[in-house]
Amino acid sequence: MKNLRILVVDDDHFLLSITKKAIEKAGHQVETAGNGADALDLISKYPFDGVVTDLKMPGDMDGIDLLEAVKAADRDTEVILMTSHATVASAVTAMKKGAADYLQKPVNFEELNLRLEKIRQMKSLIKDADDLREAMDITENKAGQTIRELEMMVADLQSRLSAMEKRLAEKK
C-alpha cells in the first residue's frame, strides 16, 4: 500500500487547507469537507482509508457523531480526532467508540503524519495477512480435494481387503 486516501473535516477553512497541504506532503491523497454532513456525503461516494476530523463543529454533527457514522459505514476507515480542549476523559470516550487517535490542537503536522504512517503500515500488514490467507486457502482446498479422494479409496481398499481375508479364512 503506497499512500492513503484521507478526508480532512474542519469548519475552519484556513486550518482545513493547511492540514490538507501537510498531509499531501507525506504523499497521501486528500479531500476536504467543511462539516459533518458534507463529509458523510463524500464518504458515501468514495471509500476513504482515514478521516481526520475536528471534534467541535457547528451544525447537527460533531466529531464524535461523525466518528460513529464513519465506523457504521465502514469499520476499516480509521478516524483521527483533533481537539483544542483535550481531556483524558474525552480521549478515552473517542477511543472507546473506535477512534484510531486523538490529537491536541494546534496540531503538530509531523505528529499527525506519523500517526497516518502507523495507519498505513497497519493497513499494509492487514493486506499482506489477507493475501497470505487467500493463498493458504487455495492451497488447502486443492490439497483437501486430493486427500478426500485418497481417504475414500483407502477406506474402500481396506474393506475389500478385509472381505478377502475373511473369505480366505473361511476356505481354510
Binding site: R75, D76, M95, K96, K97, G98, I126, E140, N141, A143, G144, I147, R148, L150, E151, M152, V154, A155, Q158
Partner: protein, 275 residues
C-alpha cells in the same frame, strides 16, 4: 533473540512432544525463537537448555503450561471454510432430529476439540439459533476445549477484536449475535449461555463431559505426528455416541491412522462416522 542450536532443538522438540503431543519441525526452529523470546526473558534464561531444565524441575507445571501457551498456534476464524456449517445445517442436525424425534427435550451434543478462542463453537451456536425454530425443545450441549488456558479465557468472555470479527462474520450475523464494545464485540449472553469451555489436553481422554453426537476437530491433527494422531482420534472416538460424526480439517487424513472411523461424503462436504 537467542539462537537455538540443533542439539537444543532436538531436546526441546522431544520435550514439547511429550508434554503436548505437538510436533515441531526442525525447519521452523526460528518459530521457537520468536515464540519463546518473552518467556526466556521472563525466566531469566540465557539458553534453551536452561529453560528446559527449569521447566523439568518445576513440579507445579506452571512453566510447562507457559511453554505450551507460547508454542501452540491459535489460528481460527468464524465459520471457517463454510462447508462444515452447511453440512451441519443440511445433514448432521436433521439426522439427529429425525433419529431422536420421540425424545423431549431432544439432545444435541457437540464438541469443538481444540477450539482455540472459541470462534468455531460460537459459529455453531449461531447456526443452531438460525436453524432450530424453538431452542427450548432441545437439550443442547456445546463444549469447547483447548490446551491453552488464555485461549479458553477469551472464549469464555466471548469478546473479540474487530480484526477477529472481520474474519468470517457477515455484518448481519455480527449485528444480530454481538454487542459492540468500542473496537471489540461481545457475543450475546444467550449464545454464551449455550456454551461451556474448559482446558483439556487432547492426548488425554476427555472425562466427565458425557458423550457427543458431533465432534469438530479441525486443523488440530496436523500439529501431531502419526502416533499422536492415532491417540487423538482414539480419544475422540471414546467419547462419541454410536454413529457419531467427526469433522476434521480438509487436509487431515484419518483412515490411515485410526480404523474406528469410516469416511462419508455429503455433496461438497466430507465427514467421518464412528463405526
Amino acid at each position: 533473540m537467542i539462537k537455538i542450536t540443533q542439539d537444543e532443538f532436538k531436546v526441546f522438540a522431544e520435550y514439547v512432544r511429550q508434554i503436548s503431543g505437538l510436533c515441531l519441525d526442525q525447519r521452523k526452529a526460528y518459530l521457537i525463537e520468536t515464540r519463546l523470546k518473552n518467556l526466556m526473558r521472563e525466566q531469566d534464561c540465557d539458553s534453551y537448555m536452561a529453560l528446559y531444565r527449569k521447566a523439568r524441575a518445576d513440579t507445579g507445571k506452571s512453566l510447562e503450561n507457559k511453554i505450551i501457551e507460547a508454542i501452540v498456534t491459535h489460528e481460527t476464524l468464524f465459520f471457517r471454510d463454510a462447508w462444515p456449517f452447511d453440512l451441519l445445517h443440511e445433514k448432521l442436525l436433521p439426522d439427529i432430529v429425525a433419529m431422536r424425534e420421540a425424545e423431549s427435550p431432544l439432545p444435541i451434543r457437540i464438541w469443538s476439540a481444540g477450539c482455540a478462542t472459541g470462534q468455531e463453537i460460537y459459529s455453531i451456536a449461531m447456526m443452531l439459533r438460525e436453524t432450530l425454530s424453538d431452542l427450548r425443545k432441545y437439550a443442547i450441549t456445546l463444549l469447547g476445549t483447548d490446551i491453552s488456558a488464555t485461549a479458553i479465557a477469551q472464549a469464555e468472555s466471548g469478546t473479540y477484536h474487530r480484526f477477529e470479527t472481520d474474519r468470517g462474520l457477515s455484518s448481519i450475523r455480527l449485528r444480530r449475535f454481538f454487542v459492540p464494545m468500542g473496537n471489540n464485540w461481545q457475543i450475546r449472553d444467550d449464545l454464551r449461555a449455550m456454551t461451556t469451555f474448559k482446558t483439556h489436553h487432547l492426548m488425554q481422554p476427555l472425562r466427565g463431559s458425557g458423550v457427543f453426537d458431533i465432534v469438530f476437530c479441525r486443523n488440530v491433527a496436523i500439529y501431531f505426528d502419526a502416533e499422536g494422531q492415532k491417540r487423538l482420534f482414539d480419544n475422540l472416538a471414546t467419547v462419541m455416541a454410536r454413529g457419531g460424526r467427526l469433522i476434521t480439517g480438509s487436509t487431515e487424513s484419518v483412515v490411515n491412522v485410526c480404523s474406528r472411523f469410516k469416511p462419508e461424503r455429503h455433496q461438497r462436504a466430507f465427514f467421518y462416522q464412528l463405526r
